[in-house]
Amino acid sequence: MTKELLQLKVNGELREFAAPAHKLLLDVLREDLDLTGTKRGCDDSSCGACAVLVDGVPMLACVAIASCCQDSEITTVEGIAPPGTLDPLQQGWAQEGGSQCGFCTSGFLISAKALLDRNPDPTLDEIRDALSSNFCRCTGYMQIYESVRFAIERGKEKRAAECAMAGKRT
């Protein structure tokens, strides 16, 4: 199969690789870029385990063509926090039991990240809606909501601290 030289901006880095033009973003991430945090859980874009952010919007990597994403910024679970640090959502997932088997976790984190980026203080119904395209077979979702709430609280604390700092400066 003919391969082309493709470029993708993933987690802030420009990555070059050779792949067939029709190769799926999911397969490119997992096989060509060794970013295996993004998972394949189904055959038909129904499970949400492969969600990534494309220009900040959650998309399913199993139905995106990698070569069509070359002008976009892609963020995978490996890139939602700088190396060696955890995003408050990741801390929440660990502290509150959001992950059991963990296979759905990357997809959920991506959906939750997209939610909090546009709405830092969502209601439970808004959380439910935002996560409704991701399946989790382990948790029954209750501890996933707790995990998101953990991050919401962290976000509030951070914003309050920033306000206080700003107040001090002026």
Binding site: M1, R30, E31, L35, T36, G37, T38, K39, R40, G41, C42, D43, D44, S46, C47, A49, T76, V77, E78, A81, L86, Q90, Q91, W93, A94, Q95, E96, G97, G98, S99, Q100, C101, G102, F103, C104, T105, S106, L109, I127, R128, D129, L131, S132, S133, N134, F135, C136, R137, C138, T139, G140, Y141, M142, Q143, I144
Partner: protein, 783 residues
Amino acid sequence: MRDGREADMSTKLMSADSIIGKSMAMTDAPLKVTGLGKYTDDLSVRGMLYGMVLHSPHAHARIRAIRTARAEALPGVKAVITGADAPTPYGVLPIGHDECCLTVDKVRYVGDNVAAVAATSREIAVEALRLIEVDYEVLPAWFDPLESMKAESGWIHETKPNNIEKEYHHEFGNPEAALAAAAFVREDRYYAGEVNHAAMEPHSTLAIWEPDNRLTVYSSTQVPYYLHRTLAEVCEMPMSQIRVIKPLVGGGFGGKSEVIPLEITAGVLAKKARQPVKITYTREEVFYAHRGRPITYVDLKMGLSREGKIEGVVARVVQDGGAYCGYGPVTVLYSGALLGAIYDISNVRYDGYRVLTNKPACGAMRGHGTVNVRFAFESLLDDLAHDAGIDPVEVRRRNLLRAPCMTVNGLRVTSYGLPECIEKVVERSGWNEKSGKLPYGRGVGFACSHYVSGAANPVVRSNMPHTTVHLKIDRDATVTLFTGASEIGQGSDTMQVQIVAETLGVRMERIKIVAADTDRTPVDLGSYSSRVTFMAGNACIAAAKNMREQIYTAVAKRLGCEAAELESRGEEIVSAKNPALKMSFDAAVVAAIDFHGALVASGAYTPPEESRGGKFKGAGVGPSPSYSYSAQVIEVSVDTETGHVQVHRIVAAHDCGRALNPMTVEGQVIGSVYMGLGQALQEEMVWRGGRLMNPTFLDYRIPATLDTPQIDCIIVESIDPEGPFGAKEAGEGSLAATIPAVANAIYDAVGVRITSLPITPEKILAALQAKKKLASSGNGGAR
């Protein structure tokens, strides 16, 4: 009487600053939340080939010939195998070695495994499968278990007359006489459709042929030990030449608790190609590999006294086992053993049939064997309670066991938190204000369930320890725990680390865990039947106590005191008599290594003889060292125009003995309830002529966030006298109560009894219409 409050030492906590009973993040959470943890399909090695399997398009057919020459000639194809390459039959039960990783003589279901290829790319593998020619002679097939068990000839397995895999007939007391004497008697037929585990991670196996002719296999398995054993048998290699490693596993729920054909096929391909081979199933292949909960018919008859005492129970259960034995006989035995054993019932008859059909084999799924019979039992008991004019909760109260006790079928009950579970959910849910009192269309339902904390008998009857763990400590005072127990998301690694840390009196961070790698870790029977907390937990206590004694001996000598007066807590070894006498854990380890030469310790767990059940045929399945209990109240609304059920809230109380890690206990209980809710209302594998109509998540609808109501978990701690720190099962027992609680709530809401799962809007509408018709003909009952 031994109740929880007089528990022996092993159930007591070490000190006030105990880490037992505190919610702990899972030890592998950092790997999971960063995406850096590796599941089997995330692994790749140099020279790895893509393996793929050719599946049967026929439900039942003889294989006349398979021609593989064209596939073998395709450039990039490194190995092609058929049943002839691995003809040794295997199965999880010694009495059920009836399947091969690639079928040898005939195919027995659509999706049966016929041939496999290993190639340098996925595309070449697909093309190679297309080039394999199979000449089939199509045979008549059976799809309905009730028809299949009437078959006179042409059986699915020639050795199984009438397509009956196994049947069991148990009778305790005198059920016929008891029913004849009962004031209220009812019988009904209940049907449960087939459901699949639907773990998020599809099965995957990476088999590596090593240069020294050894085989290393990474696999998404709940039981590395069974896989190790089966690979050795089929690959005709000694177990010592094979290494099985379980990476992170993306959920099991029973679906990875017996060997799945790809796990062996990958090994055989790797051996033939002398190269690494990875096979990962598609979601469709996962559904066809199946091993889920079978279609079940339950004919149930029960009698109640005027006072609400269950006088007798008679059940006939037929399970549609699919084409191979698998865990089948165990499933049908669990259905009988746990049917009545949750309550105090003296007269029980059980006739259980496991029937073969031309569909994928069923197997163990969360709540193994207990779920569909519990649906029937708790539904029928609800009806009888209404007949007797007794509140459905009260009727359960009047039939409780008094632990410790032995049930009529020989199950030893050591702790019994069901009464507390019942009272807690009644209170939290507002049951007394709601039951029978909500406006038409809204209702509450109640049900109970229970489950084993591991099987007291291994599938191969023996006296082997069910689990063994090793500990070693080097001069850096790192404690390394070697355990065969398989973390599959339930938190078993964390639980073991917590127990070892608690027993040694050190921080969890000091413990490193090496798990589920047959070259390095001792045998554990696997993560199924909710056995790991009880069994591996007890083994960890034993090993850590052994280690502690060794440390105490050396420290006592150094401090000039008696070993017996020493305690280990807060990273220190301290004299209980004179707290000034103490040593840091680090210094104590150095002293102990200087004294003993090396610091290693082991612990094992074998269920006590008195927990292993009676002597009758089939008595080995059901017995457990301990049982968990659950009670639930579910509130629903039923839309009488559409038949749609909305679940508002579920309150579940679970007796887990002691919650070692409350966060993971709650996660297990809520997850069980969630899975039960899926089976109650929306999940069903739909079969037409042996073909699955919905092998995708679009069509097999597991509940998403919007389908899942608020689920409240109440933990009840009965402190089991033999559990590790009093703990017992948490991961399965709550599932079964959810389904009948939903059915009972629907009855409370609109007065129709649905006896078929899943409870779809169509079934509710049909029942409402039938009820209306009956009412207009003058025979309608109240509500």
